[in-house]
């Protein structure tokens, strides 16, 4: 006789809970997407199908400007934080355990622990002084702030990937007189690529939807899409916001599919 294997899927209520969770997660988003095609002005009364809000959002210079700024900021922050996180992950995993390891982990992952508003107020005061002292008020501050809080999001998948890779290949390469950089370039980096990509995507998305820190750090003319949308809501939620959100959502889904295909190939 074959013993029954334990399976979570066979526990009572499994499907019910799964369905409830998926509905709770996706129903509001579906509503948002559906109403973005509303021909009326309202986000609550359905008046027929139309693409007018997409046309309007596309014609709105400010929306285009803040969207481009958000994407540019997220790309820069994700790039810098992924580089830093890759170095940090290599430095903390590709070596024997060392004294103070836990402290280093805690320091790297600090942005996950400290409430965002605390970081935001600290940056407001610190950057305020710096902006006055240097006279420079550009995007550099936002890039720096976003890079800093994106590091742990990039770090965690990269570190997980490294932990899952034993170093037999690297040891073999070293036996064959590979130089350290060669080994890194030819062995470690390609194997690590899925982790780095995952880290980059996470950092990108985290930066893209940040509100609190951006709100406090932004200088003149530096609204991002989330701060722009936040400021709109107090007056009125227009269907235009739905249309923008739907486009962002579609972009994210495309990005994830792309990422899925890329990592699938590597494996």
């Amino acid at each position: 006789m074959v013993r029954k294997e334990f399976s979570i899927a066979k526990l009572p209520g499994f499907s019910l809970i799964a369905v409830i969770v998926f509905v709770a997660l996706y129903l509001p988003i579906m509503m948002l997407v559906i109403y973005s095609f509303n021909s009326g002005k309202s986000v609550a009364i359905w008046e027929g199908f139309s693409l007018q809000w997409y046309v309007k959002a596309w014609a709105n210079e400010q929306v285009k400007e803040v969207t481009l700024r958000s994407v540019g900021l997220a790309l820069s922050a994700a790039t810098f934080s992924t580089i830093a996180a890759t170095l940090a992950a290599l430095g903390t995993t590709r070596r024997p355990a060392f004294k103070g390891q836990m402290a280093i982990f805690a320091l790297i992952n600090q942005p996950l622990m400290v409430p965002e508003i605390v970081t935001a107020v600290a940056l407001l005061i610190f950057f305020g002084a710096l902006k006055q002292f240097t006279g420079y008020q550009g995007m550099g501050y936002l890039v720096a702030a976003h890079t800093a809080f994106c590091i742990p999001f990039a770090y965690l998948p990269i570190q997980a990937r490294l932990n899952g890779m034993d170093n037999t290949l690297e040891t073999a390469a070293a036996d064959l007189y590979g130089r350290s950089f060669q080994i890194f370039r030819r062995i470690t980096l390609p194997l690590l690529m899925p982790g780095i990509l995952a880290g980059f995507m996470l950092a990108f998305v985290t930066s893209l939807d940040d509100v609190v820190i951006t709100l406090f750090v932004k200088s003149a003319g530096q609204d991002t899409l989330p701060t722009y949308m936040l400021a709109q809501i107090r007056r009125s939620i227009t269907t235009e916001v739905n249309a923008i959100s739907t486009v962002l959502l579609a972009a994210t889904v495309l990005l994830l599919i792309l990422f899925f295909i890329l990592t699938k190939k590597k494996n």
Binding site: S76, F80, L124, V143, A231, S236
Partner: protein
């Protein structure tokens, strides 16, 4: 990856050149500035205006206090103007550079928060009142009892906007007190009244233009311009001015002490005081503007709108909220905190 870093570099350097001549940095409430107004201003003067949004007076104040913000003009509410002045964050205006200063309507010239308009010029003003859907309730709208002691038809259908100063001031005037009072007897009445009324409310939320228009909410404390826009979508929405007293508010444009584009800022302030341009300001956010002679240029649907024109008999009940003392503010916050539980 290389391309990405170039992009980042380009991003950083382009933003650092933001203060070339012919630029103006306007720090204003979100969704409050007419793009047509800015396009017209740019066409006339060659000055490109960049708007940055804020969502509350406190956010704006905190950011400018921290310094290094890069803004030239800010649009604080009336009760915040004295704070901006006393903190030295905005500068006295050189009236010789504002040839249209005389266009400010007489009733908006000598205002309590800025006598003689030496620091700020009008942007938009309005009132905080109550709105009902006449299909649910057909009685008197001009009373705060709509939300403080809701009639049976409205119980469980009322929204109250989560604005501490507006809501507590409405309740204070309803019990016969003055906004920002420190009288504990009055404050106790206000507290008891609000706490007793809260179970009869549906929600404490924004976004009522849509929800009132969609019949989701049958009554709400809200701003006149937003209710005006709701009524255009749903004729059953009716705005009321509580006769017990209701807050008036005005947002005014002020010049920051460390503005970098001062000449451009003066040109903009002068520009928005031209009646035709003031009407453009109103046409977008749907509030009145405080500039004499702008009426003929106003959108037709606003000229006789009951949300924009206050009935004569209810004019006296409108009050500008003073800047509360620290003590009064502490009382209000305590009541508000209890109400949020």
């Amino acid at each position: 990856m290389k391309r990405l870093s170039y992009l980042a570099l380009a991003l950083i350097t382009s933003a650092s050149m933001a203060h070339a001549s012919g630029e103006l940095q306007l720090y204003n409430w979100g969704d409050y500035t007419n793009p047509e107004l800015l396009a017209k201003f740019e066409a006339q003067t060659g000055i490109k205006v960049t708007i940055t949004d804020y969502d509350s007076n406190d956010t704006a104040l905190a950011k400018v206090q921290a310094g290094g913000h890069g803004f030239d003009l800010v649009v604080p509410s009336a009760n915040y103007v004295p704070i901006w002045v006393s903190e030295g964050l905005i500068q006295p205006l050189d009236l010789s550079k504002l040839s249209n200063h005389g266009n400010i309507a007489p009733e908006w010239m000598n205002v309590t928060w800025d006598d003689g308009r030496k620091y700020s010029v009008p942007w938009q003003w309005g009132s905080t009142g109550v709105a009902v859907n006449v299909t649910a309730y057909s009685g008197d709208v001009n009373t705060s009892s709509i939300f403080l002691d809701p009639p049976a038809e409205l119980i469980g259908k009322v929204n109250v906007t989560p604005e501490m100063n507006d809501v507590i001031s409405l309740a204070t005037m309803y019990v016969g007190g003055e906004p920002c009072t420190e009288d504990k007897e009055v404050l106790k009445k206000v507290r008891d009244l609000l706490v007793a009324a809260k179970p009869k409310w549906l929600s404490m939320d924004y976004g009522m233009t849509e929800k009132m228009a969609a019949n989701d909410v049958m009554a709400s404390v809200y701003w006149n311009g937003a209710i005006f826009r709701a009524r255009l979508q749903n004729p059953n929405v009716k705005y009321g001015y509580p006769k017990e007293g209701y807050p008036l508010w005005m947002d005014s444009v002020a010049l920051l002490s460390d503005a970098q584009n001062v000449e451009e800022a003066y040109k903009f302030m002068d520009f928005i005081m031209v009646p035709e341009n003031a009407a453009l300001v109103s046409a977008f956010a749907r509030y009145a503007n405080g500039i004499s002679g702008s009426d003929p240029f106003m959108p037709a649907d606003m000229k006789d709108a009951p949300e924009i024109l206050i009935p004569d008999e209810l004019k006296a009940a409108g009050h500008f909220l003073p800047t509360c003392s620290a003590e009064a503010q502490a009382f209000n916050t305590a009541i508000w905190t209890e109400l949020q539980k």
